[in-house]
Symmetry: C2
Subunit: 419 residues, 2 copies
C-alpha cells in the first residue's frame, strides 16, 4: 500500500477566511488510484512550522502533497522551507515557467516585476512541472531526506485542481500502485439506508475482490462506485460490466447514469438524444433549476428559457395560470404546478417544461409545512405532477426541490423515449 | 494568547468524499474571539490514531475542537478514544440528549433502536452540551491529562455550525481571552490591490491597536474588518465608529454595507426601504441572479419574478426585444441588455429590473471574448447599462456576472434614493 499526506499551507485557511477544497479533490484522485490518504493538515505561513510538519510527514508517507504558500508575496517563506528540507543550496530559474509568467502578466496588461520573476525560481533540487494556469510552478522533490516524495502545488483552486492529472501521472510512474478498475452508477430518489437494504442480497453475493462504495450528495443523489483492486484487465472490466448489468436490473428507474455525472447533465443528454427542447417555471426554487441546467456547457442547444414566478401576478399574467385555479387549490398545489408547466411550455414553445411551487421556508402551516413542494412536468405525452416534503432549512430545501424536479423531469423524458 | 487546534474525524474526509467546511466556520469564530488556530488536522475513523492525534494536540493547545466521528454507526470508535484520553472508566446516559434522540426519531417516524440510545451515552468525565439539532451530544472534556480542553462536536455541518455559539460561550467563560471589538464594511467593484492602494494613507494613519483585515469573496466582494484588541468598551466602540466614518468617505459608492452581509441582502434592504419591487431578465447568468435574490428569506416582499431568456425567441417573444435591435447590435450588446431590462420591467410591472447578456463560455470571438457581459438596469429614472470582461471559466464567470449585476442594480437604487 502507498500512503499519502496532504498539507495545505496558508494563514487564510487557519483564520477561516478560505474553505480548503483542494485537499478533497486531491484525496479523491489519490483514493481512485489506490493511494491511501492517512492525514490532512493545515499549517500557517511560518517557515519553521512548514519545515517541521513536512519533514515529519515525509518520514511516515510515500507521497506528501502541499497546496498553497506559493503566491508572489509569500512564496519566499515556503520555498526557503522546501530548500532547507531538500538540501538545496541555491535557486535556479526555470525557463518554461518564466515564459508562462511573462505570458500571463502580459495578458492582464501588467508589468513583470522582480516579485513575479522570482516565482519562476525554484530550489535546485526541485524537478519542475510547468503550471500553465498560473505563475507558480509545480515542484517535485524526490525521496526527501531518504523519505517520501514531496509535490508542492499552488493554492489557487483551479491551478491546484489543474495540476492533479500531471502529479497523478508522476505518482503512478514512480510508486508501485495496485491497478484498480472503477465504474460509477448514479442513483436518485431513494434514501441511502433504503438503497442499502435494496442492494443487500446482490451486495452480499459480490465477489470478494469487488468493492462497493456509497457516495451521497444533496444535488446529485447517491453515486455507487464499484472497484476491482486485483487488476485492470479486459477480463476484470468484463466482470465489472456483468455486475453493472445486474445492478441496472435491480435499480430500474432509480439509476440515471452509468458514469459519474449529475442530474442536469443527464437531463441534457436525454434531451439531445430525443432532439427536444426544455423550459422551466420556478416559484419556490427561485431560479436554481435554470441555474443548474445552464451551468452545463452547451445547454443553449436545448434550454430555451424559464420564468421565475415569485409573485402571484407573474404566475397569472406571464404564465397564464388561472386565478380561479389558484383560488380553489392554493398556490402550493398540484393544479398550479401543472398549470405553471403548461404555461411556460406554451410561452416558450418548448417540448418539455418543468415547474415548481412550494415553501422553502421560513413560515408554513399545518396544511403546507415548510419543505413542501409540488413539481409539474408538461411534455408531448401530457402533464404529470408529484409532491415531496423535505424538512430542512431554506437553502437546503431549495437544493432538494431543484434536484427532485430535475429527477422527475428525467423520469418523464425516459418514459417518452422508451415508448 | 490562547491557542487552538481543530481536528476532523472521519474516513469520508480522507477519501475526498466530503469537503470539510466545519473547520473553516470554527476557525472564523475562534479568530473573531481572539483565539489563534495553529493547526487543522483530519484523521480517519481509527481509534489509535484519534487518541494519538488528540493527545498530542491537547499537549500543545489550550483548546482542541473535534468534529465528526459521532454518527450512530461509528461513534463507538471515537467515544472509546475519548474515554481512554480522559480516563473515563464508564459511560453514563445523558437524559437531556436522550430526550432529543426520542424526539428526532419520532419526528421521522422511526423506531428508537439500541444504536440510537447509545448516542446519548457519554464517557463519565464528559460535560454535555445538549445538541438540539441531532442525536449526538456535544461533549466537553476539561484539562485532559493536565493539558487543554477538548470539545467534541458532531460532524453533520448544520449541527457543527449550530454548536459554535455554545462552545464559544464556554471558551470565553473558561479561557482568559482578550476583549475584541470588530466592525465590518462590505466593498464591491474594486480589485483587492487597488483597494489597498486607495486605503494606504488612511491605513498608515490607523492607531496601532486598530487592525484592518481584507477578506475577499467572489460573490460578495471584499469584507474589510476593523478590530480593536485592547478591549470592548463604549470608548473603544466610539473610536471604531470614527474610523468607519472616515472609511465611508474614502470608499464612497464602493461601500455597500457597514455590516457583514452580501449584495442580494443589501439590495433587498434598499428595495424594502424604498418600497419598490424588482424583476430580472437573465441570459448568460441563466437563473443565478434570481436564485441569489430568492435565497434571502422574505424576498417575496419585493421580488416579483424573472425570465431566463436563453433562446433568442424568448428574448423576442417573452421580453419583447426587437429583432431589429438584435440584428443591428448582436445579442451581447448594451442595446439588448437595456431592452431585456425594460422588457421584463413591463412584463412584471416591477419598479426596477436588472438584465444580463454575455458569454460565460466556452466559445467567444475577438469581438466578444469569453467573460464578456452587458448588464442593464431599468428603473423609475431610466435605463443604464455597463459592460465587464472577466476571464474565468464558465462557472466562475456566471458568479462574477451575477455579483456585478447585483452591484450595478444597487448603485442605481442608491442613486434614486439619494435624489
Amino acid at each position: 500500500m502507498t500512503y499519502a499526506s496532504i498539507v495545505t499551507i496558508g494563514d487564510e485557511i487557519l483564520i477561516g477566511q478560505v474553505v480548503d477544497t483542494n485537499s478533497s479533490h486531491l484525496a479523491l484522485a489519490l483514493e481512485q488510484a489506490g493511494v491511501r490518504v492517512r492525514e490532512m493538515l493545515s499549517v500557517p505561513d511560518d517557515g519553521e512550522m512548514i519545515e517541521k510538519t513536512l519533514s515529519e510527514a515525509l518520514l511516515r508517507h510515500d507521497v506528501v502533497i502541499t497546496t498553497g504558500g506559493l503566491g508572489p508575496t509569500k512564496d519566499d517563506i515556503t520555498k526557503a522551507a522546501l530548500a532547507r528540507l531538500s538540501g538545496s543550496k541555491a535557486y535556479v530559474e526555470h525557463p518554461g515557467q518564466l515564459a508562462v509568467v511573462h505570458r500571463i502578466l502580459k495578458g492582464r496588461g501588467l508589468d513583470v516585476l522582480p516579485i513575479n520573476l522570482a516565482q519562476a525560481q525554484v530550489p535546485e533540487t526541485a524537478e519542475v512541472i510547468v503550471n500553465e494556469l498560473g505563475t507558480a510552478p509545480i515542484m517535485v522533490f524526490r525521496k526527501v531526506r531518504g523519505g517520501g516524495t514531496l509535490y508542492a502545488l499552488p493554492g489557487v483552486p483551479h491551478e491546484a485542481v489543474g495540476a492533479i492529472p500531471a502529479i497523478m501521472a508522476d505518482i503512478k510512474a514512480h510508486q508501485h500502485l495496485q491497478d484498480i478498475c472503477h465504474r460509477n452508477v448514479m442513483v436518485y430518489g431513494i434514501a441511502e439506508s433504503s438503497l442499502s437494504e435494496l442492494l443487500a442480497p446482490w451486495e452480499d453475493a459480490l465477489p470478494k475482490d469487488i468493492h462497493l462504495a456509497y457516495l451521497p450528495n444533496t444535488l446529485t443523489g447517491i453515486r455507487l462506485r464499484l472497484s476491482i483492486y486485483s487488476g485492470s484487465t479486459s477480463e476484470q472490466e468484463a466482470r465489472l460490466e456483468q455486475q453493472l448489468s445486474r445492478l441496472k436490473e435491480i435499480l430500474g428507474p432509480l439509476q440515471y447514469a452509468d458514469e459519474d455525472t449529475d442530474l442536469q447533465t443527464a437531463v441534457g443528454k436525454l434531451l439531445k438524444q430525443a432532439g427536444k427542447t426544455l423550459s422551466a417555471a420556478e416559484s419556490c426554487t427561485g431560479g436554481e433549476i435554470a441555474h443548474l441546467i445552464t451551468s452545463v456547457a452547451g445547454s443553449s442547444a436545448y434550454f430555451l428559457g424559464s420564468v421565475t414566478s415569485y409573485a402571484v401576478s407573474v404566475k397569472e399574467q406571464v404564465l397564464g395560470v388561472s386565478p380561479a385555479v389558484i383560488e380553489e387549490y392554493g398556490v402550493v398545489s398540484s393544479a398550479v404546478a401543472a398549470a405553471m408547466a403548461e404555461g411556460v411550455r406554451k410561452l416558450t414553445g418548448s417540448d418539455y417544461a418543468v415547474a415548481t411551487t412550494g415553501l422553502a421556508g421560513p413560515g408554513g402551516d399545518e396544511h403546507n409545512p415548510v419543505g413542501t413542494v409540488w413539481i409539474g412536468v408538461a411534455g408531448p405525452s401530457g402533464t404529470q405532477t408529484v409532491t415531496y416534503c423535505f424538512k430542512h432549512d431554506r437553502k437546503r430545501n431549495i437544493q432538494r426541490f431543484a434536484a427532485a424536479a430535475l429527477n422527475f423531469l428525467r423520469l418523464q423524458i425516459e418514459k417518452d423515449l422508451s415508448c
